[in-house]
């Protein structure tokens, strides 16, 4: 599955001739994909995706349904490993190292790349246990430090004030918005470098959505954030960089303001002005 050195080199050149992808002028990217292709069986879902995701910023991936945004997001922490019939070509780098390199420990990779899903999915356990799951597994904290770590993660997720007296209650008893913030806290407790969010607000009401958005803006100081969203206003509001996916291609990538006000590609313009999608 892992690509060899040659294909990486070739893909590097492919990227430089791609006209509509503006490389960001930020420092070294945290996550970088090079001519990444992905197939579900015979279905070629991603074509030569080359993208450099800058650190300590929010990168939004937008595009119509089924265009490959989520597929790409899930590739970054290798969630496709267990998908039957999935295969890929090209490479994805985390801090300059290939995530597909032989000997890469998927477990520690996923510890460095946290993920939040479309629907809140807390474990049927207490609020405390939900957050403590990651640190416990990864033996990152001595048992006596665990409560501090849980509190820190819950504070980072702006949930502490609401649940500090309900830590023993089941996580599933919280409201939808709180559950999603609990899932964010659960991911943050692992102290990842990158936080992936797959349409984290699509199951939430506008007020809960706003809270999560404020939270993300706060979190980007510490983490690199990649968010898939169907909501273009959301992308425009919170993100620093935007990538537009269309039928498996990364059509355009650049600073959010540029992409939304002066898109280079006609398809991007058509999509953000609501002519399709």
């Amino acid at each position: 599955m892992a690509s060899d050195g040659r294909s990486v080199g070739r893909s590097g050149r492919t990227a430089s001739v791609s006209p509509t992808v503006r490389q960001s002028d930020s420092p070294t990217p945290v996550v970088e994909s090079r001519a990444y292709n992905f197939w579900y069986g015979a279905n070629h879902a991603l074509h030569d995706v080359t993208i450099a995701i800058p650190p300590h910023a929010i990168t939004a991936l937008i595009g119509p349904s089924g265009c490959g945004k989520t597929t790409f997001l899930r590739s970054i922490n290798r969630m496709h490993d267990l998908t039957p019939g999935a295969r890929h070509a090209g490479d994805i780098l985390l801090d300059g190292g290939s995530i597909f390199a032989p000997g890469t420990d998927v477990v520690s990779l996923r510890r460095r790349i946290g993920m939040v899903f479309q629907r809140p999915n807390p474990f049927p356990k207490s609020v405390y246990d939900n957050v403590a799951y990651g640190p416990r597994l990864n033996a990152m904290a001595a048992p006596r430090e665990l409560p501090d770590r849980v509190e820190r993660a819950l504070r980072q997720a702006a949930l502490w004030d609401e649940v500090s007296s309900r830590l023993r209650e089941p996580g599933t008893a919280l409201s939808g918005g709180q559950q999603q913030r609990l899932c964010i806290a659960r991911a943050l407790a692992n102290e990842p470098e990158v936080l992936l969010l797959d349409e984290p607000c699509s199951a939430l009401d506008p007020i809960a959505t706003q809270r999560i958005e404020e939270l993300l803006v706060e979190l980007k100081k510490t983490y690199t954030i990649v968010i898939v969203t169907h909501n273009m206003q959301q992308a425009a509001r919170v993100s620093d960089y935007t990538g537009f996916f269309y039928v498996g291609h990364l059509v355009e990538f650049g600073e959010t303001e540029q992409v939304f006000t002066r898109p280079i590609d006609d398809r991007t313009e058509a999509y953000i002005t609501g002519r399709f999608g």
């Binding site: 969630m79 267990l82 039957p84 998927v106 520690s108 899903f117 999915n121 474990f123 599933t172 692992n190």
Partner: protein, 282 residues
């Protein structure tokens, strides 16, 4: 009301009536059995019934303490053997059983599920009683466990499959290896359903008679030695009900009532566990 609406309305009423009558018939069978048992058995149940062993035929008095304790031991031992194997097999089928081996295991479980219990009894006789030259409670437990394992494997599989995929993904994304996800997240979440499945399985084997005929054999004396023949309520009922004495018939009815009550208690517990489970998740 137009003609068509009226016809639809009447058809709906008629179908509802049919369904109600059929459901009632189904429940009626249980009520008749239970009522009959209470009528004929309740009067023979006293303290001695639970505390004394049987007295020689012809004498009055005595109880079935040996059979009650025997049922407990035989069924408990069967659960001890059957539950781990059955649950593990079910977990395997649900989490890893998509390949050829999974297909084979599932197929065998289905065939075994449909095997008459007396055949299982004969198998246990062939492989345990004959080589060891003696009937034993242990052989009976093994026979019951064999009946239980395919049942548990399939119910566990169903319950584990009900666990939302999103929970698995959440655990994997936190860096849980797959086997730990299966055990810590998936199996834990399905625990209520798995426990229910085990209790239903235990309730089913508690009433089995045929597999015990050539294995535990039965014993008129009080015994807790699992290497020796042991009495069970079902065997007791079989012997007493077919015997010639009025006193035996009386005790058979009472034993049947106790066995039925036991099974009912287990089933109700299973219901309760299920309710708890749905109360907790969402």
């Amino acid at each position: 009301m137009s003609g068509r609406a009226l016809r639809r309305h009447l058809a709906s009423r008629a179908m509802t009536a049919v369904v109600v009558v059929l459901s009632f018939t189904a429940v009626l069978a249980l009520l008749l059995i239970l009522g009959d048992l209470v009528l004929k058995g309740a009067s023979s149940i006293d303290w001695a019934f639970f505390t004394k062993s049987p007295v020689p035929a012809g004498q009055s008095g005595g109880g079935v303490a040996n059979a009650i304790v025997g049922t407990g031991i035989i069924v408990g031992l069967a659960a001890l053997i059957g539950v781990p194997i059955g649950v593990a097999a079910g977990l395997y089928l649900a989490e890893y059983g998509s390949g050829r081996l999974g297909f084979v295991v599932r197929f065998i479980a289905d065939v075994l599920n449909g095997t008459p219990s007396i055949v299982v009894g004969i198998v246990a006789w062939t492989f345990i009683v004959r080589p060891t030259h003696g009937y034993s409670a242990l052989a009976g437990s093994v026979a019951l466990a064999i009946l239980m394992i395919p049942m548990l494997a399939r119910t566990t599989e169903e319950m584990v499959r009900l666990v939302p995929h999103s929970l698995r993904e959440a655990a994997l994304a936190l860096g849980y290896p797959r086997w730990r996800t299966s055990l810590k997240i998936v199996a834990r979440t399905a625990l209520g359903g798995i426990v229910t499945g085990c209790l239903v399985g235990i309730a089913r084997i508690a009433g089995e008679t045929a597999p015990l005929l050539f294995t535990a054999l039965g014993n008129l004396n009080f015994s807790v030695d699992i290497t020796q023949p042991m009495q069970s309520l079902s065997l007791q009922i079989y012997v007493y009900a077919t015997g010639p004495f009025e006193e035996w018939h009386r005790l058979a009815w009472a034993s049947a009532l106790v066995l039925m009550g036991l099974v009912l208690i287990i089933s109700i517990t299973a219901r309760w566990v299920t309710r708890q489970r749905y109360g907790r998740i969402r």
